[in-house]
């Protein structure tokens, strides 16, 4: 059952991340689909890929985005 929840979380997380106006929130929320996909990889019998995705998808990529947002604009322009 947990895998279906993860699938829904991945898709919803992606949508929610893209609909934020605060780009910093967007950057942090990017980690949610990343983490959900990492768990899904574990469920799909690929533990090594899950480890890599857990590091890259939930830590490195959101930090990249957060740094980019810090260097540019916090709020989305009109």
């Amino acid at each position: 059952m947990i895998e279906y929840i993860l699938m829904i979380v991945a898709v919803l997380g992606a949508v929610i991340a893209l609909t934020q106006r605060d780009l910093l929130k967007t950057a942090i929320l990017t980690g949610i689909p990343g983490a959900a996909i990492a768990f899904l990889f574990q469920f799909l019998l690929a533990p090594d890929v899950a480890l890599t995705q857990a590091i890259v998808g939930t830590a490195i990529v959101p930090v990249f985005f957060a740094l980019a947002v810090k260097k540019t604009l916090r709020m989305e322009e009109e």
Binding site: Y4, T52, V56
Partner: protein, 134 residues
């Protein structure tokens, strides 16, 4: 009706790819556009991993006590997983390059809207000194 986890996973991958394409096409903010591209890459990775999945199978580690035939029938298919590892790393690195270019362009134009800084412009290029150091 409950769908097969593998099929559900394929649908998730497809949904992520479509969300990514939608974001790349319709969102004008460059950072969100790049996030959309990340979702495309994630969706493709999920798709590939799902292909190697075997319902009711085991992780592809050969433990003592298994016979070769039993292992071949029950283990998941590891080749796609090896590909995905490479693809995740490539995705993260191209992402870093794109974000650094966005930061440079923000310093130049003061905006991160695609229609403003990557919009329609004249086609003239003017070379500064090509002899200068890079």
């Amino acid at each position: 009706m409950i769908i097969d986890p593998q099929l559900g996973s394929f649908f998730t991958a497809g949904a992520l790819i479509i969300i990514g394409l939608f974001a790349a096409l319709f969102i004008d903010n460059l950072i969100k556009k790049v996030i959309g591209l990340l979702f495309i890459a994630d969706g493709v990775n999920l798709f590939i991993v799902t292909m190697g999945y075997k319902a009711g199978g085991i992780v592809y580690v050969f433990l003592p006590g298994m016979t070769v035939d039993w292992f071949a029938q029950n283990a998941s298919y590891p080749l796609p997983f090896a590909l995905v590892l490479t693809s995740i790393v490539i995705g993260a690195s191209t992402l870093a390059v794109m974000l650094s270019l966005i930061i440079i362009l923000y310093k130049k134009h003061g905006s991160i809207k695609a229609s403003k800084i990557l919009g329609e412009k004249g086609n003239q290029t003017q070379s500064k000194t090509p002899g200068d150091k890079i």
